[in-house]
Amino acid sequence: MDGARLGLSRDNEFEERLSIEAAQKDPGRFAELYENNFHRVYAYIARRVHDRSEAQDLTSHVFHQALANLGKFKWRGAPFVTWLFRIAANSIADQAKRKAREQGNTETPTTDNHAETELEVSERRAHLFRAVDKLPEDQRRVILLRFAAEKSVREIASELGRSEGAVKQLQFRGLENLRARLSDKFQLSNTNG
């Protein structure tokens, strides 16, 4: 997986190496790496694990592991996120095995047949998640309440003190904006999320 596919320019790569080295010397600097990679890791996990609390647990696990083992990370040319993905993939597989054992389920967890496509899809999704933060505030709040908090239009309307119609409209405008931001960077695809 080369850096270009993950949208990493040489400058970004340089910045990332600095962040890693800084965090290795001073774990207090891990926040930067977290901010830069949270959505990627979360998206990667959420794509495979559809239960929200499970996805959150796994994401949390991945970052805790990464922090604990940061000293062992060596730059070998691959972006930092691929290291996080490897931790994530292992964690997902472990969890699946554990669940299979608990439930007497012999079904094996899904594996990456097309790792690069997987990474690309995750990257695209992370980009989308990040784009939510850049939406106009009222659209951002509606999108978050709807997709993250998974609230109904009625609940959102009452929480924001707006009409249901206004909420639906903000949702529509928000998705339009996100589509635009996505197509700036990626071709819209039919990849199933």
Partner: protein
């Protein structure tokens, strides 16, 4: 109205997507369908709370662990393991190690009285920690405990120079500095505080296989080959001997036992292992010289039995000088002898004779002798040899005699020990002596010795100190304390 309907259409699709229901995008207006596609990818969008909370968690963990990470759990400059030594006089010990070993004082915490609670010394690349005695904390010195089961091993650049410096500062040679089969030149010295130091300089790389070969060969010679000078000390594996003893231990009886003990310490670097004084003033003491034991008994009015000892130590000239300083009189000054050693002789203030020798490096035969070897001066040595054979199953190792049967020098093995003898040829001789002899079965040996011509003084009797003892006199005036160790628990 079309837009209004598109908004509703999209919301229906979003509701289905969130509920993880299938949505047929083809049934939608194309623009709505492409937005529903975006909505589909948004499903599972992480909440801001989760992202923030995890960040807080990670950051808290970071700040909590930050100070821990900055402290090296193994402080720089410290080896993983260090001896923590206790001394009856720690300040004196520090001074000694500075002078003797070139130690460097790194740290000292002392009470106003000077009593040391904790100090650290650097010797070469090692650190030793030490303190004075604190009985409440279980800190007791070897002097209080009566010895230390742990010996210290020290690698040094030049073991001979190191030993000289240490001895000059007051250390005693326990085992001479010698080239060892395992490629080191090493020896053992005792400091004045009850610790023994093995000091070594690597001279040659010897493979483990080669060492094992040597050890195997050595083991095959058991029990007859002694742990001669500088060799691996032979532990008495026999259960009928007390730990550290060999078959033969000379027993010196003198009126002034403390004087003799002091002399062997000063002159020969002996270590006092044990001393007890009875109510009538009678004393029994045990000292160690090299790997050998010596018993010293005494008290007012005791029948003195001066003994002759062949004593192998590394530097005969120095030992000779020390012996004279300690009050001995010279019998003859050290000189190279044609039979392969440099030797001199002294008589100590209590009348014992010490033939002090350092074997030439090329000389093989002293290797079967221990540091302390008993030397008989009987009248009629062949008769004594005969008696030893009959009474104790001794074996003649060598005999050098004239055609007339005058024995100049003979060696006889008793159990795991060798004793030497030479015909009496001096007005002060024959020098009958006393011998503490460990045997496997004291009762059987007692019977045998009586049959061979010995006279019973005490039949076999269990003693409170763990030995079963019998006491016989031989026809040459020597006293034999036969003993079998039964163990302290019996």
């Amino acid at each position: 109205m079309a837009e209004r309907s598109a908004i509703d259409q999209l919301d229906d699709a979003v509701a289905a997507i969130i509920a993880q229901r299938e949505v047929d995008l083809t049934s939608l207006d194309p623009d709505v369908a492409s937005l529903a596609q975006v909505a589909r990818e948004l499903r599972g969008l992480p909440t801001e709370e989760f992202k923030t909370q995890l960040k807080t968690e990670l950051t808290r963990r970071e700040t909590m662990s930050t100070p821990k990470r900055k402290i090296d759990p193994i402080p720089k400059g410290y080896p993983t393991i260090s001896a923590y030594m206790c001394f009856s006089d720690a300040p004196a010990a520090i001074e000694f190690y500075k002078k003797a070993f070139g130690a460097e004082e790194k740290m000292r915490f002392a009470e106003p009285s000077g009593k040391i609670g904790h100090a650290e010394l650097k010797i070469g690349g090692a650190i030793i920690m030490l303190s004075d005695e604190y009985p409440d904390y279980g800190a007791l010195s070897p002097q209080t405990l009566g010895g230390s089961p742990i010996k210290m091993h020290l690698w040094v650049e030049d073991v001979d120079a190191f030993a000289r410096q240490a001895v000059a500062a007051g250390a005693k040679v326990v085992r001479p500095i010698e080239d060892q089969f395992y490629g080191d030149r090493s020896g053992q010295i005792a400091d004045p505080f009850g610790y023994t130091w093995i000091i070594s300089t690597r001279k040659e790389e010897i493979s483990q296989a080669e060492m094992q070969k040597h050890i195997d060969a050595f083991a095959q010679q058991q029990p007859y080959t002694s742990s001669a000078q500088g060799e691996v000390p032979k532990q008495s594996s026999s259960t009928y001997m007390r730990e550290g003893f060999h078959s033969v231990t000379p027993y010196m009886s003198v009126e002034k036992a403390p004087e003799l003990i002091e002399f062997v310490k000063q002159a020969f670097g002996a270590t006092e292992i044990f001393r007890t004084t009875g109510s009538a003033g009678g004393m029994h003491a045990e000292v160690r010289i090299g790997e050998s034991m010596l018993m010293i008994g005494g008290g007012p009015g005791i029948k003195e039995s001066p003994t002759a000892i062949h004593l192998y130590l590394p530097d005969v000239d120095t030992v000779y000088e020390r012996a004279l300083q300690a009050g001995a009189t010279s019998l003859f000054a050290p000189a190279d002898q044609e039979y392969g050693e440099r030797s001199g002789a002294v008589q100590d203030p209590t009348g014992n004779r010490w033939y002090i020798a350092t074997a030439f490096e090329t000389t093989e035969w002293p290797r079967e002798l221990r540091t302390v070897t008993l030397y008989f001066h009987p009248i009629g040595a062949p008769g004594l040899i005969e008696f030893l054979k009959n009474a104790f199953g001794a074996e003649e190792v060598m005999r050098h005699q004239s055609d007339e049967g005058y024995v100049y020098h003979a060696k006889v093995r008793i159990g795991d020990s060798i004793v030497e003898m030479g015909e009496a040829r001096d007005p002060s001789q024959p020098m009958p002596t006393a011998i503490y002899l460990y045997v496997e079965d004291v009762d059987a040996m007692y019977e045998r010795a009586i049959k061979a011509g010995g006279t019973s003084v005490l039949p076999p009797t269990d003693q409170p100190y763990g030995d079963r003892n019998a006491w016989i006199n031989d026809p040459f005036g020597n006293v034999w304390y036969l003993a079998t160790y039964l163990g302290t628990s019996k």
